[in-house]
């Protein structure tokens, strides 16, 4: 079956906006020389673009294999960064980002790799089945591309939603206060919006998995 066309289109637009925001953060961190976890920002950028490509055809920038390699490399980088931060925090020094946050981002990258390899892609059905009554077994009408290893997919969707819930629970109530001597870099990087972006990405990834179960 196929969702209404506007649903993946809206979600892909949100993913594009998050990708643009990540680029803004990376650029502002360079301009304002603000300490930021560039690997984490890069991971969000790649995840947003890859997820958008899994939702709509017009965001097909790279092949699934190329995206998988990119996300795998980013995930390994983040995991290594997390281990380094955990073992020698003094060497990482001014670069923010907890080992736990980097590990979580690495795990999301790994789930992204699974999604790409499991065949999660824009629907091959022309037009939407939304609003209609679809009879079972109508070839090319009611059935969509079923993902590989659905049980693993469901487990990953649950993990992603758990990540979203935990991220929201940790979200600070008030906007970040500017510390003395801060040139405004902290506000320009909008950490709360960044955290919300992560929530939006993982919920969208969970949707992309569950929408392809049948």
């Amino acid at each position: 079956m196929n969702a209404p066309a506007w649903l993946p289109a809206i979600l892909a637009d949100v993913m594009l906006a998050i990708a643009a925001f990540s680029i803004w953060r990376i650029a502002m961190a360079g301009v304002l020389r603000a300490p930021t976890d560039l690997a984490h920002d890069a991971a969000i950028l790649l995840l947003a673009l890859a997820t958008a490509g899994m939702l709509v055809r017009w965001m097909h920038l790279l092949s699934p294999g190329a995206w998988a390699v990119l996300l795998a490399a980013t995930g390994v980088w983040l995991a290594a960064h997390a281990v380094q931060t955990h073992r020698r925090p003094e060497e990482v020094g001014a670069v923010p980002g907890s080992p736990r946050g980097s590990l979580a981002a690495a795990a999301v990258c790994a789930i992204g790799v699974y999604m790409l390899l499991a065949g999660i892609a824009p629907s091959t059905i022309n037009g939407s089945t939304a609003g209609y009554y679809t009879m079972a077994g109508m070839a090319g009408m009611s059935k969509d591309n079923t993902i590989t290893y659905p049980a693993l997919g469901v487990a990953f969707a649950v993990v992603l939603l758990g990540f979203a819930v935990a991220a929201l629970d940790r979200l600070p109530r008030a906007p970040v206060e500017t510390a003395p001597g801060d040139t405004g870099a902290t506000r320009a990087l909008a950490p709360r919006l960044f955290a919300l972006s992560e929530v939006a990405i993982v919920v969208t990834m969970a949707y992309a998995i569950l929408a392809k179960l049948v």
């Binding site: 209404p4 939407s128 009554y133 979203a164 935990a166 929201l168 629970d169 569950l210 049948v214």
Partner: protein, 320 residues
């Protein structure tokens, strides 16, 4: 606002306004973890409601229509009215349903809106229980404890009440008692599990082949590993329906009265039995809520009953 006012339980303030539901401090700890699990369930429901099949007329014909049959007219007539609206506007209504459930999950997960989320989830769950699940088959005679009675969604409402944010310093023998009190919490547990005992023996679920037929009815379309587990269980149950019903009824009755027992270890034993019951029915009969078929609206009653059981787990203080 002083700290004592912020963290005071709702029962002590006696007022419930929209303003009082937003903001305030929410303590962490075990209770918050349970709230987050509940938020996760709502979030999962919201995302499941966005599945492609939910936007088709199959949703209302296959999910809602069958639950109307057998209900008294006073229940069935409004259900028919709602069914007609959903059937005529499947895309708009389903979008609204999914957004509401997503919003409930997000609101409970975000600390300043946890009360708003929990409060809003109660009327929503009751409405879905009636119009979407036909009161879980309680009045139609189709309710069965191993396949989701008394309706998964009503458990969300119950959990929202039991997990209402309260002062963590308030002493209670288990989490569920912190807001409603020990007496009310125990009574709710007794009613819930005693109703499952009743449903075990009502409706002819102990007839020969009934249990096996119930399991095999949901096997089609499941992944091979799950289908093999379900088929094995169906073969095991075949011809033993009466014996299984009797054993199940006795165990459920024990679970129901266990909250009144003075021995913590025995209470824990029955809670473990409840958790095992939840795990078995969730896998074997409920097939993880049918999530692999692309038509699941929630994970069904298994994990929610398990979450309920955990809220009754004796606290460290009470076990001393």
């Amino acid at each position: 606002m002083t700290e004592s006012t912020v963290s005071a339980p709702l029962s002590s303030t006696r007022t419930l306004s929209l303003r009082s539901l937003v903001g305030g401090e929410v303590a962490g700890g075990r209770r918050r973890t349970l709230q987050l699990v509940l938020a996760g369930f709502w979030l999962l429901d919201g995302v499941l409601q966005f599945q492609p099949a939910m936007f088709t007329k199959n949703f209302v014909q296959m999910m809602i229509y069958p639950t109307i049959a057998g209900n008294p007219a006073v229940v069935a007539s409004p259900m028919n009215w709602v069914r007609t609206i959903i059937f005529n506007h499947p895309v708009g209504t389903n979008t609204a349903f999914a957004c509401v459930q997503l919003a409930l999950g997000l609101a409970i997960a975000y600390r300043p809106t946890v009360k708003l989320g929990l409060a809003a989830s109660i009327p929503w769950a009751v409405a879905v229980w009636w119009f979407g699940e036909g009161l879980g088959g309680v009045l139609s005679g189709s309710a069965d404890p191993i396949s989701g009675a008394p309706g998964a969604v009503i458990l969300y409402a119950l959990l929202a009440v039991l997990l209402w944010p309260v002062d963590q310093s308030a002493a209670a023998p288990f989490e569920a008692a912190r807001f409603v009190g020990v007496r009310a919490a125990r009574a709710l547990w007794l009613i819930m599990w005693a109703s499952l005992v009743y449903f075990t023996f009502a409706g002819g679920h102990d007839a020969p082949g009934a249990l096996a037929g119930q399991i095999t009815a949901t096997v089609d379309g499941q992944p091979a590993w799950l289908a093999s587990i379900m088929n094995y269980a169906a073969n095991l149950a075949n011809g033993r329906d009466l014996a299984i019903s009797v054993v199940l009824g006795v165990v459920l009755a024990g679970i129901a009265v266990s909250v009144y027992l003075p021995w913590v270890r025995v209470r824990r034993g029955f809670l473990v039995a409840a958790l095992v019951f939840c795990a078995v029915i969730w896998v074997v009969v409920e097939a993880f809520g049918g999530v692999f078929l692309g038509m699941a609206t929630d994970p069904n009653s298994g994990p929610l009953l398990a979450l309920l059981a955990i809220t009754y787990w004796p606290t460290t203080a009470s076990s001393r």
